[in-house]
Symmetry: D2
Subunit: 157 residues, 4 copies
């Protein structure tokens, strides 16, 4: 700590639009989740790995501020940061920002080695709270159940 | 005012589950929106009508509390209530509650003539804030742009 | 045999539209699946029951004809019929038809006791092929693995 | 002509899984569509451009063969090829193939300058037929309505 932003590029899919001509609002929650998935991957672990260890990290709370709508084919960046953690809970901050259109069809590339500053027009921001549970849907103390993971995620190593 | 709850039954679709074996969290935002749609219909107007009059009601804020997960084929009730309004904004409260399983394939029926008390196991609750805009995505004063609608929605007639 | 049509009403959700102003095409596959779920329920069993018995019925093939687009808030009827089966495979026929708009917010009701004739404007039709498998994703002979189920589904009792 | 394959990488999203532990089948239709979008972009035009010129290209038919299921976090390649066209219709072939897992979080990159040979484990294949229409949902002769586009898409320049 302090934790840094991770970034992950996506392009708005046709399926994600609605007849208002903009992105249907529930998709931003999907994108926040994709951001968290990539945040974990950037720390050298995958969410898939966590599930194989029978650890799940469901949401308990979400707060979302919708400022401007994303539109079809927009290139967006999902910014994700862990802003709080304990032995049993985690809190993330997320931002969806519009990027300038790039030539060509290849996905955006980001140099993940530098500290990332969120850039681009801010469309939607939010926070999500999560609790560590096991397959039986019971809370677990992550520092005891998976100390290596706890160190990795919290950068405390 | 005070505004009453509207209710609308849904059954969890297979597509709405994820590999955790529960409903993927973003679907609750969809269901809140279905609840608002039916809330408007119960007042004698459709959201379709609003759009034909070039009025849109996008979200500006959402807060969601996830208590218990819904599961495949669950019978749920969406409860919706307007809890605040002004000339330019509306705020709704929503609850998703699990209902006892019923025999047969016919959808649940609800007597909408009585004041509704939310019943069943509370799974997810939330609030959403909305702003009235026109097709050009500009804020409109709904009491001036559509006084009949304003009266209807606010029960002030 | 011959197998009869089952019917199940749905209303088009805002989330299912896209910026073309019509239903996004992939949703028809979801609706076909909802139709099969309700077809099984009408025979006194649930797809949930099948899964609890470790039987799955994934798609192997789909053919879809898109004639006319469904639109937001349309009242649709999903018609479903089993048109072929063996010890290891099942084939379903599905139709999505638009229904006349009804007053009020209560879901359509259908008297399931009479033989059903598909009615309303035909929007989309299709066929899906399925194979019985177990949790290990291996083909199973359903007449041996679950003879009671086989009889129930095929009406051979 | 003959037309070449285009390729576009995606990673399976958590939201795209279902409780069977695999990708929900309707998502393959979404992915075919993303493949067509990128096929058009690789030809120097965007589907967004087409819509601005009031040209739409909805599906009339789809045929899909599901061979093996995709799973969460899989890296997939969408392969897309135009296999037939006339003044009013287009037909595409699509394949979804699993790619070997790569290190790091950066999206796959593909050298689009070489003729592409579909590679990786074939999961799902299909064909889709489309018709050119205008905003009024009427068929248009694309060679007359947009000769430049017709040349571009058919490689006949």
């Amino acid at each position: 700590m302090p934790q840094a932003w991770s970034s992950h590029p996506i392009r708005v899919r046709y399926q994600e639009t609605d007849q208002m001509g903009v992105v249907y609002h529930a998709n931003y929650l999907n994108w926040f989740e994709i951001g968290r998935t990539e945040w974990i991957r950037a720390r050298g672990m995958t969410y898939e790995d966590l599930e194989k260890r029978e650890l799940l990290l469901p949401l308990t709370d979400a707060e979302i501020k919708f400022r401007l709508p994303a539109r079809y084919d927009d290139q967006l960046m999902i910014y994700t940061k862990m802003i709080e953690y304990s032995n049993i809970r985690v809190r993330f901050s997320s931002e969806i920002r519009r990027q300038p259109q790039q030539e060509g069809s290849s996905p955006l590339e980001v140099d993940q080695s530098l500290p990332i500053q969120p850039r681009g027009e801010l469309l939607v921001s939010g926070e999500t709270k999560h609790v560590w549970i096991n397959r039986a849907w019971k809370a677990v103390r992550i520092d005891k159940a998976a100390p290596d993971l706890f160190k990795l995620l919290t950068g405390d190593n």
